[in-house]
């Protein structure tokens, strides 16, 4: 028995050693508001992106708000028209379903019918000042609408790799998680073994 266990444990060790660079195989979906659009990405956590996948856009009560499609790199874009929480859902087949929510409060402020309670101080971002009718917008000097749009676009482009890195970081399985899981297993089965042994002892008298 000991030999088998030693073999199995070394097999586990080998598996751990092999897997450190490998990523988990699960669906990764990511969505964020950029300007007046909602942009997102769908893929697998091993880096493969889900290209050409239809994405359903649903409201919280299940009504369909629209539909979009991922491009070759698994990215999708949706222009929201209603001020409700948006839920994006894509079925990648084989039991892989991706869902992501964009809360009402995070929707672009330019959205018609935007609720007043989500209005933020008019100075936070130029994009938000446009639609808010409370408080006259504070206009930064010498920046036309076109310039602002260009700046926002540039900032979005700059943020893209950062967002990717953050979502990759979220999916990372580090050593601690693996060792922690094995620790739990050893603990659970050890406890069980102890209970079983105790019962047997009691029964034996």
């Amino acid at each position: 028995m000991m030999k088998l266990f030693t073999t199995l444990i070394s097999a586990i060790g080998l598996a751990v050693a092999l897997t450190v660079p490998a990523l988990a195989h699960k669906v990764v979906v990511n969505a964020f508001v950029g300007g007046e659009r909602i942009e997102g990405e769908i893929g697998f956590s091993d880096g493969a992106m889900a290209g050409g996948t239809p994405v359903e856009v649903l409201a919280e009560d299940g009504t369909k708000l629209g539909e979009t499609m991922t491009d070759r790199d698994g990215a999708f874009v949706f222009v929201p028209t209603r001020a409700v929480t948006h839920i994006f859902r894509a079925d990648l087949g084989g039991g892989h379903v991706a869902t992501v929510r964009i809360e009402k409060a995070d929707l672009p402020a330019t959205l018609s019918g935007g609720t007043p309670e989500v209005a933020r101080p008019a100075t936070t971002a130029p994009a938000e000042t446009r639609a808010i009718d409370a408080a006259p917008p504070v206009r930064p000097v010498a920046a036309s609408e076109a310039e602002k749009a260009a700046i926002l676009e540039a900032v979005r482009q700059e943020l893209k790799p950062l967002r990717r890195e953050i979502s990759a970081l979220k999916e990372k399985n580090d050593f601690q998680a693996i060792l922690g899981g094995i620790g739990y297993i050893v603990g659970v089965f050890g406890l069980w073994f102890a209970v079983a042994a105790r019962r047997r002892e009691l029964r034996a008298g």
């Binding site: 751990v16 195989h25 859902r89 998680a177 922690g180 297993i185 079983a196």
Partner: protein
């Protein structure tokens, strides 16, 4: 092999959970005390194996090793694989909590089936023939699991044939690898510990 939250219909989830609870209960009752450490080690193997990726085309699939767990543990594979799945959901976000029951049945039921199909032959024959039966068990468990996943998806409204084709094709390399792996493990066990399968095959008094 992990179905995620939200992919299945409620009746399928309920039925899967009920079956899983029954299987775990049976596994716990049939677990002789000597088998508990083996169950722990195989549970840990299963837990870690899901991180070993086999790249195929644009995507990749991971090892499962439920065949080996089934061959050694029989019904006790249910609790062992359940613990592995629970921790995978908690630590890695594989699958999810609502689908835990269905996922447990998808991996543990094939393990139990290959136990009953292959263990008699493994104990009867010499190490070489046993290794072949072990390979059949290892690969067969994956094929059956893929079939279960496709069936569960079909019950939730997906078309069975395309779903099954997708899942089984994706797992063909895993079947090959696990066939070899399980065959080697059985060969080794028969050489160094021939009574492993015999001891575990005898009905237990329960604990």
């Amino acid at each position: 092999m992990h179905i995620v939250d939200g992919a299945l219909s409620i009746p399928v989830l309920v039925a899967g959970s009920a079956l899983a609870v029954a299987g775990i209960g049976l596994g716990l009752r049939r677990m002789p005390i000597d088998k508990i450490p083996a169950a722990g080690v195989l549970s840990a193997t299963f837990f870690v194996a899901s991180l070993v990726h086999v790249p195929i085309g644009p995507s990749s699939v991971h090892l499962i090793v439920n065949g080996l767990a089934g061959l050694v543990l029989g019904w006790a594979a249910f609790p062992a694989l359940f613990v592995g799945l629970l921790l995978q959901a908690a630590f890695f976000g594989f699958g999810g909590l609502t689908v835990l029951g269905v996922n447990t049945v998808d991996v543990a039921l094939p393990a139990v089936i290959v136990h009953y199909l292959c263990v008699p032959a493994i104990t009867r024959s010499g190490p070489r023939a046993a290794a072949i039966w072990g390979s059949i068990g290892g690969a067969g468990a994956i094929a059956l699991s893929a079939g279960c996943v496709a069936l569960v998806l079909a019950l939730s409204g997906e078309e069975f044939v395309p779903a099954a084709r997708l899942v089984i094709l994706a797992h063909a390399p895993v079947m090959l690898i696990e066939g070899i792996l399980t065959g080697a493990a059985v060969f080794l066990a028969r050489k160094v510990k021939p009574e492993l399968f015999v001891v575990f095959a005898t009905p237990a008094r329960g604990v």
